[in-house]
Symmetry: none
DNA sequence: TCCTAAGCGAGACGGTACGTCTTGTCTTCCA
DNA sequence: TGGAAGACAAGACGTACCGTCTCGCTTAGGA
């Protein structure tokens, strides 16, 4: 009956397999873009049998989604931390907190992002990424967005943000992250003004 | 530019084939969304041999692009006509001329647009469609867009527009086209203000 | 040469697939002749996916060649056995040992041979079959074949043999195999006389 | 259905087209061998539209057959001439009259014959050619061929002849035509001896 | 001289087969 | 017992030919 604690090791092994797959996927996305990658390729890169892949994820998509969920969690953690740091005193004047973090992340991993949301990406990746950004935007969007339904507003901003990012990430001499974030927040202004009706 | 009037009949025959293919594609996109369509399916629907398809288009993509080019041309024609009608007197007060036309088109062909840019679409379609909108926006975008490079501004607006359209087209009780156009133009305002520095 | 005894079961599975394909091919050749058979047909008959076919053989040709190699090996084994039985004592008086075996084989499988070398066959089959017979003849051909180069002699005899077989197999009331073999050996006599320079 | 003798010129035009096609085919056979030639290729080489090809011949085969019929007629004419020259006096001592003519023809057109009956040929060509040789042999074969049915004897000889020719034509330093013909006649001897039972 | 029937080139079209590629399932063996 | 290896079915892809067809041009002969 010593089985229960055994599983921990196995799980750890599983985790390492998953990790390897995720890493391989990221590498390959950076190299070739999503669409030109076959499950086979990911497995080879990760030194893993193709059947093993399917025992972990039903899809190439699923693998990606897993990765993006991690990224989202991380960004939300960052945003939260930032909110906590300025413990309500000034409250980042009219800007989205997630933006800078995500932009900086994209900056550091420029190559991967180029594969993900740039030219050579694929539908699923863009779609998933956009969905993630929609969730991030939604969380910081004020309740009232004059005229426009909240969901539509979130999508407008998220789509714009993603497109901006996609443009920025392909640039040879890009703006500094902070400026891009500022630009985004400026463009988003009309939808944020309702935020502090008094001021 | 099949200008030579020599073999008009052949061209006419080809044109009818192309037409049939395009129609079949649109139908199928409306029914199942881009990704679930095989070249074979399009051919069957259009009553056309698969090899004939390939003698006209190298790809499923190419077929789509052809269709979108037509749509773009049509919308530009409309926009131009509208501009001519108000022969410069009032100059559509601060709005994009293409918007209403495209929105109305989407309204009439709601089902097709749902297949094209809505949930079940595919990367290529969205991408191609977005590119088309980028071109449309670019044409009407004023030269100076304070701070933001022109290309980035166009992409911001186009992405937002597409996303808005995608959201709108899935609604059960959507706004009237005119109101959506107004909303878009209002959201685009910050980038258009540079337009009339004098006023 | 899948010699490693590691995964015997996989090999066994493969072998059964190959067997099925070979059988189906033989059947179909007997029914329609080589040229009217598509890879697809072989697969359907063998209850095997077309892609599986291509993972075993690159061609329809390759499948055939495989089968012929087996046949050749079998015939050589028979000829050897026969030679061993009469351990040098009488040494089949002036005749080719492979002939009777092959003729009897053709007799039993008359239908298949009709498809293979008869009227409705195809170039590849005839060619491959002739090559096999050339090899068989070569092995038993004496070193010196007065005047004619050895290779030419082998081809003369093989071509004649195949043609004879092809004629015989189409007959309604054919000679008994032994008589055909005798006939062949008689016709081959001029080239075999050099065999026993003493006599 | 070119029955009416009205338009001789049109027929002449047709004839020139046919000629061009035949020439192109021969060229291409010499270059690449039968199997690697598409109808398209023949047409391009002959500067003729593909549809025109099909208005003359139903097949690539038919084009070939036409050519071979001409060749056969020519060879028979030669053989006849030779028979006439030696107006029965000596009657070519035990040899086939067609052989030398055909061999010399093959010698002169070595390249074409390589394409036709050599390695890179195709089933149809070999088959057709063999049939022609069977007809040629049959015509000169004596009535009685001890034991072997006449048809079988003709096929044995024809197949051997063709194979010999095919071997010879691929040689780098081939025997002189006359010697090859002698060799063939020597090999054919056993079947010809019945010819003059008296002598 | 005009006109009319043909040969002809061009190429659209449907169809069939090819060989390649990817996907997801399933089985077997090894550690 | 989990993972590697890989056989397998399914099916889309883009290519290559095939044989049929329709269309207009050209041309040579007979009116």
């Amino acid at each position: 009956m010593t089985q229960l604690p055994l599983n921990a090791a196995l799980d750890r092994r599983s985790a390492r397999t998953r990790e390897a797959l995720r890493g391989a996927l990221v590498d390959l996305i950076a190299e070739r873009g999503w669409d030109d990658i076959a499950v086979q390729d990911v497995c080879e890169r990760a030194n893993i049998g193709r059947s093993t892949f399917y025992s972990h994820y039903p899809n190439k998509d699923a693998l990606l989604v897993g990765g993006l969920e991690d990224l989202q969690a991380e960004l939300q953690r960052q945003a939260q931390a930032q909110a906590d740091r300025s413990h309500g005193v000034i409250d980042t004047p009219g800007g989205f907190r997630f933006a800078l973090g995500l932009i900086e992340h994209a900056h550091e991993q420029r190559k991967i992002f180029r594969g993900m949301i740039g030219r050579r990406s694929g539908y699923v990746v863009q779609q998933r990424f956009r969905e993630m950004v929609i969730r991030l935007v939604s969380e910081e969007l004020p309740a009232s967005t004059d005229g426009l339904p909240r969901q539509a507003a979130a999508r407008w901003l998220a789509a714009g943000f993603v497109e901006l990012l996609s443009w920025w990430v392909e640039q040879r001499a890009p703006l500094p992250p902070a400026e891009l974030a500022a630009l985004f927040n400026q463009l988003a202004q009309p939808l944020l003004q309702a935020r502090r009706p008094s001021s």
